[in-house]
Symmetry: C2
Subunit: 445 residues, 2 copies
């Protein structure tokens, strides 16, 4: 059983008619959310610095950086768009494997489509094939891979990006196999860099690695035999737990896009239930922050594993601090982009509440659930439990909520009219003559 070739065969032979309508709609939701996040993140420090550093090395400036007027070659654009779309930790997630798969896949193909006309339906199809391939592989290495310290978004993302760009370049099954191999041998990304700019760099580089893999394979570059499932292949080398059967035996009627979640808050997904509970408490009880003596959270153990940053100084660190996340929920009753800035992290009222937060991990709690209990100075206690966080698969963001999230990020850059046109195009992508129009509309006029 050669699972690399199996994936390649499927990707090459898939027809859009085989994809159910609800999955196509979900692909549109994922792309719309992606485009909003990329525009929203386009002026963050990590993006500014990466662009300034790499701009002198750019080739022909054919491809848009979403949300900016700058153009660079499509390989460089894959990286920069990927950093921008992930920098706020606001992009989508498949909760089962904790991968933000859209970011690397979409960053690669939007950069490609920005330089060369691509039919909208073809684009959507390539995206979902890349998303599905990466997700299948991610599911095969859950949970050992991520627990060991790999940034799963970028390791499997490089392969998803190669598949999607490869599909747009109409690779044969043999070349697609090579593209997957060249991507697999570049698979990288460490969680140890979380909290630094390199976190967003990981999926950006994955987009770029996948792009390069597809370009090389297209030209005849080879990439080994069953680089995914073979002896010492990707699965064996990068994952202590693995289940190749999750790939080999998966019915073609299953789609991981159905299990994709969209974040209401721009920070670590596993904190969302606690934030949700804190916001609800804020709205219901109208607590004065100065009256809070202590805050007790009960959460899944992974919350502390991922988001245990207690002493923080930057907004970037705040995205991985359960203490900060709870504090902004309680103090401000919201947790949007403004709550994860350097300013918010250093605001004295938020810091004061943050310092009163204690967290109890509980293995019986799932990572989309949480309980918060606050005790006031007068000794009175209040608590709130959330069984499934807003934005989870059980309480998904509606299309309207996604549109609002999109507008919140895109309108400040593009203005309302252009943002609206871009929104319409994302929804109507399947009937669009050229998906590259997304990139054109996403560049401020």
């Amino acid at each position: 059983m050669d699972i690399t070739r199996q994936i390649a065969d499927h990707v090459v032979s898939s027809r859009m008619q085989m994809v159910p309508a609800d999955v196509r709609h979900e692909a549109c939701r994922a792309l719309l959310n992606y485009v909003g996040c990329a525009i929203g993140g386009a002026h963050e420090d990590a993006v500014e610095i990466a662009l300034r550093a790499l701009n002198p090395y750019s080739g022909n400036r054919t491809s848009v950086i979403l949300g900016r007027r700058d153009r660079v070659d499509p390989i460089t654009a894959s990286l920069i768009n990927g950093i921008a779309a992930h920098v706020h930790d606001f992009d989508d997630t498949t909760p089962h494997n904790l991968s933000h798969t859209t970011c690397p896949v979409a960053s690669a193909i939007i950069s490609h489509a920005s330089q060369q006309a691509v039919d909208g339906s073809e684009f959507l199809h390539a995206f979902l094939l890349g998303f599905e391939a990466a997700s299948q592989i991610a599911n095969a290495i859950v949970p050992g891979h991520y627990e060991a310290g790999w940034h799963i978004t970028s390791t499997v993302g490089a392969i998803g990006a190669a598949v999607a760009v490869g599909r747009l370049r109409a690779l044969t099954a043999e070349k697609m196999t090579n593209a997957i191999g060249i991507a697999a041998t570049q698979a990288a990304g460490l969680r140890v860099v979380f909290g630094s700019m390199a976190k967003g760099f990981n999926p950006g580089r994955a987009a770029q690695n996948g792009y390069v893999a597809a370009v090389l394979a297209d030209a005849g570059f080879t990439g080994g035999n069953d680089p995914l499932g073979g002896p010492r292949g990707f699965l064996e080398v990068l994952a202590s737990t693995r289940d190749a059967g999750a790939i080999a035996e998966r019915p073609p009627t299953e789609f991981e896009l159905r299990h994709n979640a969209y974040k209401p808050f721009p920070c670590g997904l596993v904190m969302h239930a606690a934030i949700d509970a804190c916001i609800q408490l804020h709205l219901e009880a109208r607590i004065d922050p100065d009256e809070i003596r202590s805050v007790r959270l009960r959460v899944a153990p992974i919350v502390l594993d991922l988001c245990n940053k207690r002493v923080i100084h930057s907004g970037l660190e705040g995205r991985f601090s359960i203490y900060h996340a709870a504090a902004v929920g309680l103090v401000r009753g919201k947790a949007g982009l403004a709550e994860f800035t350097d300013q918010a992290v250093n605001e004295s009222r938020i810091r004061a509440v943050r310092e009163r937060v204690t967290v109890e991990p509980d293995a019986d709690i799932s990572h989309d659930a949480a309980t918060v209990e606050i005790t006031r100075l007068d000794g009175c206690s209040l608590s709130k439990s959330v069984a499934h966080a807003i934005g989870s698969l059980q309480r998904p963001l509606s299309d309207r909520a996604l549109e609002q999230k999109f507008r919140d990020q895109a309108e400040p850059r593009l203005g309302g009219q252009r943002a609206g046109a871009l929104l319409d195009l994302c929804w109507a992508l399947e009937r669009a003559g050229n998906a590259g129009q997304i990139a054109e509309l996403a560049a401020p006029a």
Copy 2:
């Protein structure tokens, strides 16, 4: 103990006067050997295809591809030069960790020096700092990392390249730490692709990854806290056996360059002892290949682990076939570039002998030793044992032998005069005003 910062501090504060003369000379040997291999490999398929595929995306064409007239931007050049220098499996190796460390490090800095004047002594110093940093890390993850399936040359090579380019860009210790982190989070390369073009791609991409890491860090991009030694850092995630003490406690007077070996044969290092024995038998006994009934090899188990390709069709596969390697030694009495072409692999006399080779792994034999025993059709047996292969640390190639190896590769491309001038420049690098002259001379007139 923050080993990332420790390495960064050392790299930033090192002075050339601290480097003993024998180590500087060894650095020249490594670079000279590298330049010869890059020129020798510059027209292999893997290089032609990668260049054709990526050329359209190149930025300003400032940097030479050694052995060619083409120029590309320095980041692309790092990749292409890296592929070329490794494609023949003819570059150097530190036997203790099986890493070909010069290739990624030198590919990055020669591409940098090709676009911007760099003092020869600074260049040599940066090279050896990158080589040492990568080697230290490699030694800390021997043997688990490579055994698991990682291409150690590229995983540690990315970090070595970042260090070397970072040094040439005069990064501060803080920025150097970030460069190491950005390189570490890109560390990748799987042995499963050995036998395909992606093998050479791995160190090339490592060169490029390190280059990008240094450029980004220079501009202010951040890369995490102790990405090498920290919890879930590079050492923890990529190696089942690790010894951070090998880095932390290493005296600054030790240099891994003293333990670097240069290959006489363009193929897997662990086959060299068997080839050596077969060539000696050929030269001493003048055996008619048609008279060979069987060939028995006794070798270290790692030989079969790495080079067990029995059915082969291409020269690339032949580089990892102990059967082919023994056959060319016995049939032709040599194992140069001409013995690892598609033509040689498919030559009937060589194939006939190859099919008669059996290999017995013996855990008591080191990987630079081997015994070959042939039985002729007349029943007579002959055998030869080699305790240390030619080119091993115990029987190193002399400066003259390295020069001959260089000329064999460079003269067909550059002509004798230019090749000679380039050779002289490599030896005199420490006194050269501009190391970029290496690249200029390595481009055919």
